[in-house]
Symmetry: C2
Subunit: 149 residues, 2 copies
């Protein structure tokens, strides 16, 4: 945890940004909820518990900044809210998501899976891929189990 914060601090400094207490508090919340897909509002409320003086705009700016630095990914599942997801350190590519249309849960797939597809796209469409977003909508294992009962 401390090491990751330290590395993020260095990353900020290398572009002459500061790791202010507000930014650190925000990063800590993201690290503590790595599994989740928090909205800006979610992050705001969680940060407020530890640092009640923080403003919503600061959280937005911090998330925007972290997004630019590729520390987090800003994603959108079509529910009108942006969600922010910590990138795995050293991950070349963005991970995928499984959104359950029954219970609304969002699971992550860290494996790449798209290598072959990307080769085809690069070749057939002459498109130089920098990043990708892949989301599956369907029914998760939990809801499937429930139905069998």
């Amino acid at each position: 945890m401390e090491q990751r914060i330290e590395r993020i601090k260095k990353q900020l400094h290398s572009q002459s940004y500061k790791l202010t207490p507000q930014r650190e508090a925000t990063v800590r919340v993201l690290l503590e909820h790595e599994e989740d897909h928090l909205s800006a509002e979610n992050v705001y409320m969680l940060v407020k518990e530890k640092s009640p003086e923080i403003g919503l705009a600061t959280v937005y700016r911090t998330l925007e900044l972290l997004s630019e630095l590729k520390v987090v990914d800003k994603i959108n599942f079509g529910d009108g809210v942006s969600r922010y997801d910590l990138r795995q350190e050293g991950a070349a590519h963005f991970h995928h998501h499984l959104v359950c249309i029954e219970c609304g849960s969002v699971d992550e797939i860290q494996e790449d899976l798209l290598e072959d597809v990307e080769k085809v796209v690069e070749k057939e469409w002459n498109f130089y891929i920098k990043d990708h977003r892949l989301t599956f909508h369907g029914i998760c294992y939990r809801c499937r189990d429930k139905k069998e009962e």
Copy 2:
């Protein structure tokens, strides 16, 4: 064109919805701009040209309805606006997109490409896939050509 409208009309009727003049005008705009990825505002302005009395809320309501019926897909490229895309008739799956980070163009890939990936996901994650969204971000062939000049 007329046949597709006729089929959409039947689809609406089968769920006891009406194809009102406003709805028909909206569908016509979508058919005429099948290549594009129009926002609700875009659609509204185009429909207004032919049917100036139409209201913005009606366009939103119609797009929402068509989205429920799977006639259009509501997509979100992360620019804060929802876009609406006609589904290919009979297409089992939603098509993919290539978003160029230089010129902002959006191209479509109609081929499935994900069959193998989906098999893996269904099996390994025990997830029953109903639909998917796949978007690549990168540099399109037009911008690549430009750079070589």
